[in-house]
């Protein structure tokens, strides 16, 4: 493979993980809009979605049509997970939405621990990695040397489809305008007759369903899930939402793709940087120093998180975020 082809292959991988991150990030941005809360349990809701799909597969996996099973896994996981999402919102998140930011932060982190541990303890042999059923068509085709898998195309199209649906929901329906109104000004929305409590519930249903969808897609994409994938997914989703501009749905989507691309490009470029640096420094005093540098592929997330920190320092409102004003 030529370097360009490697790059294109990595870009495809970046788009694939990007769509997963985007779906998780949209939840963060929606919740921040309506409740001013960063819900750190959201990553674990994502993980819960994939386990719900596993439970459903155990129950309905024997159905004759594969497409029906896939549909059932997606829809069922989304419904079950959104119920959990609303219940946790009512019980834990809304009571602290008016508290200082640290309190809500810790409560949602505690909630994340509770969800994660529940899955580990109550799912049969929950501490082990779980294989995800291979229901999407195998195989793929080549364009030049670039291999494209059919299941990747399906996952990607599903992701884009759900993003379009959510976008229509938020921009074109009455419910969507209620969500946007509550996000802009809760008091004013209330005075205009918007049922704020119900709107918050609906927002959590949408957010949790999206996370569950991402969870099931993750399972199909990697073929394996584990109870602890939620912590990293949550941090990445939050990072993506912030890079894009917290409170802006398009920002969350852009941020998700950006994070995915940075991560995979770093994985593609780091080894070649390492090679060229090593050959440059060979037989010089720097040789030992270069070999100690963190330039392996496994450090891709270091680069991605460094970019996040730089973003927060130099453009804290994100790519599409509104300018922040400070009033005394």
């Amino acid at each position: 493979m030529t370097p360009t082809e490697v790059l294109i292959q990595q870009l495809i991988n970046g788009l694939m993980v990007g769509i997963l991150y985007s779906l998780v990030a949209v939840g963060f941005t929606l919740y921040f809009g309506v409740l001013d809360v960063i819900n750190f349990a959201h990553g674990d809701v994502f993980m819960l979605g994939s386990f719900m799909a596993l439970v459903l597969f155990a129950a309905f996996g024997a159905l004759p049509y594969t497409w029906l099973v896939v549909l059932l896994l997606f829809v069922g996981a989304m419904i079950l997970t959104s119920i959990v999402g609303v219940v946790t919102e009512r019980l834990c998140i809304k009571p602290v939405s008016q508290s200082p930011m640290l309190i809500s932060l810790l409560v949602t982190l505690g909630l994340g621990i509770a969800i994660r541990e529940s899955v580990r303890l109550f799912y049969p042999r929950g501490a082990d990695p779980k294989f995800f059923p291979k229901l999407l068509p195998d195989g793929g085709f080549n364009i030049g040397n670039i291999f494209i898998r059919y299941d990747n195309i399906i996952i990607f199209l599903l992701g884009v489809g759900i993003i379009i649906v959510v976008n229509l929901l938020i921009t074109r329906t009455k419910m969507g305008s209620a969500i946007r109104a509550v996000a802009q000004d809760k008091e004013a929305a209330k005075m205009m007759g918007v049922n704020v409590d119900r709107t918050v519930d609906i927002t959590f249903i949408i957010g949790s369903a999206l996370a569950a969808m991402a969870g099931v897609m993750y399972g199909f994409y990697y073929g394996q899930v584990m109870f602890n994938i939620g912590a990293m997914a949550g941090v990445i989703g939050f990072s993506a939402a912030v890079i894009g501009g917290l409170g802006n749905i398009y920002g969350a989507i852009v941020g998700g793709f950006l994070f995915g691309l940075i991560e995979t490009l770093a994985a593609a470029i780091l080894p070649s940087i390492s090679l060229s640096l090593t050959s440059l420094a060979a037989n010089t005093v720097f040789a030992g120093f270069v070999s100690a540098l963190p330039l392996g592929t496994e450090n891709k997330r270091v680069i991605a998180f460094l970019v996040v920190i730089l973003f927060l320092v130099f453009k804290p409102t994100g790519i599409l975020g509104e300018k922040e004003y400070e009033r005394v």
Binding site: P100, M101, L106, I113, A114, E117, F238, L246, A292, I309
Partner: protein, 408 residues
């Protein structure tokens, strides 16, 4: 300071009776703590929680008793400190068959030091630091590497661990100055993940295997890894570490308390409560934020270095994000900007989960649930932050002379 309610319903007691009250309270707390540790079965935990709730309820119903006890503690402060000191000194010798619990107490002590450092950032300065475990790890790895590769003595690496950690806060200086709230939280989380990934992948930190055979503490040729023999009994090696961490925590508590009482603490509190108001009062916000951040990290790092030289083996899973959460919950559940609260929080949050081993698998689930319930129903912590009582208006004691503190 206009709306301070006066609580002066305490009863007068003769000095002897007062000393008896003070010693009785100290002794009772000590015995309850011993019972909690020495009785292996789980029921003692439930019994003591019920007892504690009953005592709190009783004191709330009878405020004069609470006021009397407080007044007596203020009057006989020396006696109280002496009593506590005696209790702390004889404590390890009650543990001669209980090395495991003594070890846990030592770890709890190291978390007192770390949490007081975090409290300076989080409680006093209002800076969210969710990278506590990462800085703890920087301290531990610094000490471990210095001791292993260059053979530096542990007391020196302890100090270097703290200093290097304080210096490593430079990486976060710009974010600390420019971001706050959720954004600072995310920066520190990102830093936490970066550090753990690097520790996992770098070669000189030993990768996933970590550092093994780090020399344990020794002083003037006396290795802390020797069992202590006294009165014909053999005590576990952790007795040595216990006295070291006791010294370290006491010094840290005194330093933290002095900072809290001084104009530095007041300056940080103004920054935490209202940055703009602080700025208009001439407080150099950035300077004080960075100082608090670095000094806090110094304590976290020194605590990490202590851990490295106590356990002798460190690896990346010791310094993951969950540890940072534990540190932050110690500060918040104990009581933000309240030294006594943070100390209490560290003891409770490190030792109680160990006590829950009889339901070991459900520990973290319970931990998460307790965190949620506590924060919803008592968000200010076990010992909430109090108004600084420089003039003695709150406790009703005599008016003390105050020093001017205008040099901010």
């Amino acid at each position: 300071m206009a709306t301070i309610t006066m609580k002066s319903t305490s009863r007068k007691l003769s000095p002897a009776a007062g000393i008896a009250v003070v010693l009785g309270v100290v002794g009772a707390v000590f015995l309850l703590f011993l019972a909690l540790i020495l009785i292996q079965e789980g029921w003692i935990l439930i019994a003591e929680i019920i007892l504690a709730l009953a005592v709190i309820y009783y004191l709330k119903r009878n405020p004069h008793i609470e006021a009397t006890i407080k007044t007596q503690f203020n009057l006989h402060r020396g006696v109280a400190i002496m009593g506590a000191a005696v209790a702390l000194l004889i404590f390890p010798f009650t543990m001669y068959e209980n090395a495991y619990w003594l070890y846990n107490v030592v770890i709890a002590g190291s978390f007192i030091v770390a949490a007081l450092g975090l409290n300076l950032q989080l409680g006093s300065g209002g800076m969210v630091n969710l990278a506590g475990a990462a800085f703890y790890g920087v301290g531990a790895y610094t000490a471990g590497l210095l001791a292993l590769s260059w053979g530096w003595p542990p007391w020196l690496t302890l100090l270097c661990g703290g200093l290097v950690t304080a210096i490593s806060s430079i990486f976060l200086f710009i974010p600390v100055m420019k971001t706050r709230g959720h954004y600072l939280a995310l920066v520190t989380i990102a830093f936490q993940f970066i550090v753990v990934i690097l520790l996992d992948n770098l070669e000189f930190t030993g990768g996933p295997q970590g550092l093994k055979n780090i020399p344990l503490f020794s002083l003037f040729g006396y290795s802390f890894n020797t069992e202590v023999e006294l009165f014909g009994l053999t005590f576990p090696t952790y007795v040595n570490f216990y006295f070291l961490i006791l010294l370290m925590s006491v010094v840290t508590i005194i330093v933290a308390n002095r900072i809290y009482q001084s104009w530095v603490g007041v300056t940080l509190a103004t920054i935490r409560d209202d940055e703009i108001a602080a700025k208009t009062s001439g407080v150099q916000i950035n300077k004080w934020k960075l100082i608090a951040f670095s000094v806090g990290n110094f304590f976290i790092g020194i605590s990490g270095a202590f851990y490295a030289h106590t356990v002798g083996f460190i690896s990346p899973p010791n310094f993951v994000f969950e540890k940072s959460l534990v540190m932050v919950s110690i500060v918040i559940l104990g009581g933000m900007d309240n030294v006594a609260g943070v100390v209490l929080g560290a003891i409770l949050l490190i030792l109680l989960p160990e006590k829950l081993r009889f339901i070991s698998d459900y520990r973290y689930l319970i931990y998460g649930l307790v965190l949620i319930v506590m924060l919803i129903f008592r968000p200010k912590g076990i010992l909430p932050f109090k108004v600084r009582d420089y003039l003695g208006l709150v406790s009703g004691a005599k008016l003390k002379s105050t020093k001017g503190g205008a040099e901010v």
